[in-house]
Amino acid sequence: MTSKKIIIVEDERPARDLLKTYLEAFPEMEVIGEYDNGFDGLKAINELKPDAIFLDVQMPKLTGFELLEVLEHQPEVIFTTAYDQFAIRAFERNAVDYLLKPFSKERFKEAMVKLNARLETKEGSAKGESGIEKIRQHFAESDEMLHRVVIKKSGKIHVISTGDINFLEAQDDYVMIYTDEGKYLKQQTMKYFEQHLDNQQFVRVHRSYIANITCIERIEPYEKSNFVLILKDGNKVPVSRNGMQVLKENLDF
């Protein structure tokens, strides 16, 4: 039996120690790295390509979910979490398993049995389907609020607070996100952002545009019966007739 490579991403040392101690009972599992934040974890996973990862949800810099969103290599995932209703629902169907802290040795063993089963079927088939895609999908279909957006740009990871977004523009299969610091391309749909951004602040003003209403400088008429938003950063955003209706309701004019 070849040994399986494991990476632990967890910000608390005692929690990492516990996992390593429990893992001692499974000699075929080899811990090739442990990281105390999402950033370093992400880099290591992409480089070292482990078979499975233990992933905490709440972590500095990048949460477990945000990490999955930009991960290239797709290992099997066992989540470890303390208390997170949404996360639990997401894991129930899609992760190999999730461990609610604190967890017993027996519970850990169960998770390892599931993991081994998943790894074996993966070896058998040419390319096993990972649960990660499903977890991403689960979030896309939920009504969970988005507070930050994680973007990969020229090899670097950027974490943008949604409040810093001035507006979004549809570009085929991508969405261009405009902030004061620059623009970022994200593979995602407009519907996704419309659904997960705070609709008190972000309004779909056009089929291809979502605007942050706190960034509007003024609204000007544009050609026939159309309007255009002039944003504080000087950018112009077209407004459709429907968009104008929604804007009127939001801004109360």
């Binding site: 910000d11 608390e12 040392r13 005692p14 929690a15 120690d17 516990l18 101690t21 105390d36 934040n37 950033f39 370093d40 709440q58 500095p60 810099k61 303390a82 208390y83 997170d84 609610l100 802290k101 604190p102 967890f103 609020m145 507070h147 930050r148 974490v159 943008i160 607070s161 409040g163 810093d164």
Partner: protein, 351 residues
Amino acid sequence: MSHPITGNRRSILIYSLVWLMVAATQGILYLYVFNFSIPVVVTDALFSSLLFGFMGLLAWYPTRYIPFHRQSPFYSISAHVVAGVVVMGSWVLLSIGMLNAIFSTQVEYIEFLNQTVAWRAMLGGLIYLVLVLIYYLVSNNQKLQERSQQEERLKGMVRDAELNMLKSQINPHFLFNSLNSISSLTMSNPDEAREMIIRLSDFLRYSLKHRENEYVPLGEELGRMKDYLAIEKVRFGEKLLYEFEVDKACEEFPVPTMIFQPLFENAIRHSVYESVDPVSIKFSCVPDDWHMKAVISNDFDPAIPIRKGTGVGLQNVRQRIALAYKENGTVQWSGNDGVFSVTILFPRIFI
């Protein structure tokens, strides 16, 4: 407070109908008992009853601006007498004068009119008095309603504050992660595990006390906050540094229980939870002539996007301080140069 009659359409309608009926009764009386001609009857009814109806509306204003409970009864009564004499006097002079001028040729009517002046004035005075009483009734009723509405609002605010307080007590993340750390320590370091269990128990016991909404010496409150920080220190190790600088004079000063908990929790959440570098949390308390000044500060990385839900803890603390000390206590916060700090001023004399 708006005028109880002109303030809404329905009262205007009812009031007008009442006076139209009074005018009609007067008219019928004059027509069939005293046998005056129709123009005389209609004009008299118009000038006495309907004019009175209009003047009666004015009686509201003295009622509105002479509140009985705030002035001496003598002052209020004389003010009402003066107002009443002015209103009724104008009414009598206006109606009698006009009727006299219009029907100066009808001797019989003029004679009748002048004989009834005293009666009219008396009857007018009586009705005026009744109107004033009704107005008082209405305005008191309105005030009562407003007061009970305000009370409801206040009660709601207090309830919300209390509810938020309870909610903010212990973060489940903290609790379960601490238990997980203990679970880990039982294998690697049982002594430390036991210490941590004791700390966690002390802290939880203290947080339950919080429901009673009582005051404790600052020293005790800080003791439990140190338990809290020590537990977090086990989880985060060297990443968390903290120091306390408390003036001796502050130790015994009574503070609301758990008042600092949301602030320490915030400090940890926005610094330690979000950072990979060591962060330090500082607490200081110094007295001045009027206040105890407590300051909690922590490092934070301004580059890290702030998660939503921030500010609930701070608002809670501000609300509790306002409930406890009214305007004598203040909570202020500021964040610049990578240091976030919250300052609470407790009034030294407050009971």
